[in-house]
């Protein structure tokens, strides 16, 4: 379960605060996954006490700065939750570009971030990009095998549906030994983008969860 409580002394009406919270949650907390399991109790509450200055015109610079800061706080907390993923040893950002729509990009990103095979490969520091191909294919999003690109950090692993001529498996393996990883997918179909965050899946996850109830 994820619970989040945020407090501010800003003076702001409930309705615009609600809109800001919903917008930011969609780009932060709704974009993380540790184990693909949605809890029965997740919630984010934001309380504004009004004891500080009023934000004024909600299209003005103060309100925009406040919304950016609120987004930053929510993204930071979301990342802290992922970093404490049960048994986690790696923090992984998944970025998808070139999808037909943003919804398609999100489908692909979450298919990767929720794949047990990809997450265990990351735990084992195995640059198994074939599993990324699998996740793209099963995601339900529009994809064209011959336009697909995959990258690990700055390393281009695949381009136009083929292994990149410059890719060396030992480079991928060296990259995977890092603790902060980026998996990129380029679909080459449109302008849809998405970014989600996850962690690896290790034996530690079983040790914590196999007897949680008892």
């Amino acid at each position: 379960t994820m619970l989040v409580y945020i407090f501010t002394d800003a003076k702001i009406a409930r309705a615009p605060l609600q809109r800001m919270v919903a917008r930011a949650a969609d780009k932060t907390f709704n974009c993380i996954t540790v184990d693909s399991d949605t809890s029965t109790s997740d919630m984010v509450l934001v309380a504004a006490t009004g004891q500080g200055p009023a934000l004024g015109d909600l299209r003005g610079s103060h309100a925009r700065a406040f919304e950016r800061a609120l987004h930053g706080v929510m993204l930071d907390l979301a990342h802290q939750v992922v970093r404490d993923g049960e048994g986690a040893t790696k923090f992984v950002e998944v970025s998808v570009t070139g999808a037909k729509t943003n919804d398609d990009a999100r489908k692909v990103a979450l298919a990767i971030a929720n794949s047990p095979l990809i997450k265990t490969a990351i735990a084992g520091e195995d640059p198994n990009w074939g599993r990324v191909v699998m996740a793209v294919g099963k995601s339900g999003a529009a994809a064209d095998r011959d336009r697909l690109g995959i990258s690990f950090g700055d390393i281009q692993v695949a381009v136009n549906g083929l292994v990149s001529p410059d890719y060396a498996e030992e480079d991928g393996a060296a990259y995977m030994r890092g603790q902060e990883l980026k998996i990129g997918v380029q679909l080459g179909l449109g302008r849809g983008v998405a970014q989600v965050w996850t962690c690896d899946l290790t034996h530690g996850y079983i040790a914590i969860n196999a007897d949680y109830r008892s």
């Binding site: 409580y5 945020i6 407090f7 540790v34 029965t40 919630m43 309380a47 009004g50």
Partner: protein, 211 residues
């Protein structure tokens, strides 16, 4: 500040876990105090022993609350209660009460009665309407919440409210978390700072789908 080793020692895993290499090495951040907010924590013994497991926050009269909630079709009684209340307004202020160790989910009418009882008790202690009390429960699903233990801790909680308790609040809501989570930001509004400070708990059963 919570040191990693201390936090790891209260995780309920039966098998000793290595400390996550992703845990922050500098512990809980030194968060700014937010004017109009107070916190208190207590050990109610709901599931965990030897640690705090209830957090109470009070926000001052004139506060407004916004929120997003899980879309799970089997969401807990406390979530349903908060959803029903979140669009309400009131000049009286508000309270947030969270227990760890028991999710009070899949507990039917018994669960709803627990939420009502806790809200009524908090409302009475803090002179608030029950509609301005927001609760959450986290832990095992499908076990009745021993809400009497929460209510028994309310005298201490209501008397212990203080403005700089946010780090303790973050620790009290942990379950399998290995460290307390928090962050803050300050926005300048014509030379006057506006503070934003937040805490979170979460480490497993994490794929939020909230609206």
């Amino acid at each position: 500040m919570a040191k990693v080793s201390e936090a790891a020692s209260i995780a309920p895993a039966k098998t000793p876990m290595p400390i996550s290499p992703l845990a922050p090495v500098d512990g809980f951040p030194d968060l700014s105090i937010v004017p109009g907010v107070e916190f208190a924590t207590a050990s109610a013994g709901i599931k965990y022993k030897g640690r705090t497991d209830v957090m109470l926050a009070r926000v001052a009269p004139g506060s407004v609350l916004a929120g997003v909630f899980t879309r799970s079709a089997t969401r807990a009684a406390s979530v349903l209660d908060c959803q029903a209340k979140i669009t309400g307004t009131g000049a009286e202020g508000a309270a947030i009460l969270v227990n760890s160790g028991n999710a009070n989910a899949f507990t039917g009418a018994v669960g709803a009665a627990s939420v009502d009882a806790i809200c009524a008790a908090v409302a009475e202690r803090l002179s608030l309407p029950p509609t301005r009390v927001f609760t959450a429960s986290t832990g095992v699903i499908g076990q009745p919440l021993p809400h009497d233990r929460v209510i028994a801790a309310l005298d201490d909680l209501s008397e212990g409210l203080h403005p700089d308790g946010i780090a303790d609040a973050a620790r009290a809501i942990m379950t399998t978390d290995t460290y307390a989570k928090g962050t803050s930001a300050v926005v300048d509004v014509d030379g006057t700072p506006v503070t934003i400070a937040g805490i979170a708990k979460g480490s497993g059963m994490i794929a939020p789908d909230m609206a």
